[in-house]
Amino acid sequence: MASLDWPAIFLSLGAALLAVALNLIPGVGLAWLLARRQWPGKAVVETIVTLPLVMPPVATGLLLLELLGRRGWLGSWLHAANIDIVFTWKAVVIAMAVMSFPFVVRNARVALEAVGARVEQVAATLGASPWRVAWTVTLPLARRGIVAGAVMAFARALGEFGATILVAGNIPGSTTIISTSIYNDIMLGHDEEAYGLMVISIGFAFLAILASEMLLRERRP
């Protein structure tokens, strides 16, 4: 039995969890703005949010590298503050977050649209502030859809390869994740290790999609 690349497995799981956690508040907030408000530039923002879903992940990675590299637009500024992102675990998290963001926003938007404005309006006429309406009516009713989206986003983050390898590299024990570890194993002819990680990947993806489907199915008629 070949040994598994445990550091890559743990990094993948941890970074994917962190990426989804970082996405939740801005993702649900943006979904709310898309579902409930009309504002100029809405269609453009919607399109930008969806881009990572259809762009080659490597191109997204290149864009992030330009942005976060030491001479990048944000990266130079961060470097001056002694924060380096690229080729560290932080870059793994950021790449995963960007790639999975559309899943959070799109699912949350559908869930919020299903809640409808009427219950929110009635809550307001009963004296509830907008925050109280959000916490006691909107979010509880949209919860399943939001969680299902987060689970899908987590699965997408675990499968990340293209953007991560560009912006975080493939440094064993440091930035190598499950997918890049499989790639390394195949290149080096360590087929058994690669198959082990493949089985693990299938298991995570299967569980995530199953959980997401079950959450959505239990939704009230």
């Binding site: 009427r118 309006q121 009635v122 809550a123 004296g127």
Partner: protein, 235 residues
Amino acid sequence: MSAFLEVRGVIARQDRFRLEIDASFSDGWTALFGPSGAGKTTLLEIIAGLRRPDAGRVLMNGRTLFDAATKENVPPQRRGIGYVPQDLALFPHLTVRANLDYGRTAGDDEAFQASVLERLEIGALLAQKPDALSGGEKQRVALARALFARPALLLLDEPLTGLDAPLRERIIPFLQRVRDEFRVPTLYVTHSADEVMALCGRVLVLEAGRLVREGAAQDLFIPRESPGWRLRDSV
């Protein structure tokens, strides 16, 4: 007759529909009567603060709720206006008890709440979720939820539409009890002359976004040959 609620020169446009209303309402129960698409629900939404008109003023008891000129606009949560929409919008994730308590103000008197529960006969439903209720029960719970918040004005949007005739007959006495016992000024939207006659003293007739007639219900409606009432032809 003092005006309890005033809607002054209010104009609201949406797509090709235009609502243009100038009206005052005394306390008691007033019907907003008219066909679908007359703008009845739009007017309720404007009064509740759920829709911002393009022009005009809304005042309740002399207090400005909305004024397009000064951009004053009291948000719905601070208007003290209860609203029961046609689809009721009960909170499906909360029990009847929690639905009722949602708008309850702290320190509110128990006697009042007990009497609402008793008059509307919903005391036995408190532990249920809305999904488990019948149509008539949902209707009464929605009404009680609005009353629990002690509104200064109650807006009822076609409360009996969508219920079958026998059930309508059974709900009307509940509405009459609410009218007679709790004495909350109420705007009652309907396109049923029978409901107007059963519940409302005054009527405002809306057509295509305009107020076309107003007056006492018994002056505007005459009995039909078959049982029931219809709007008297204009003179």
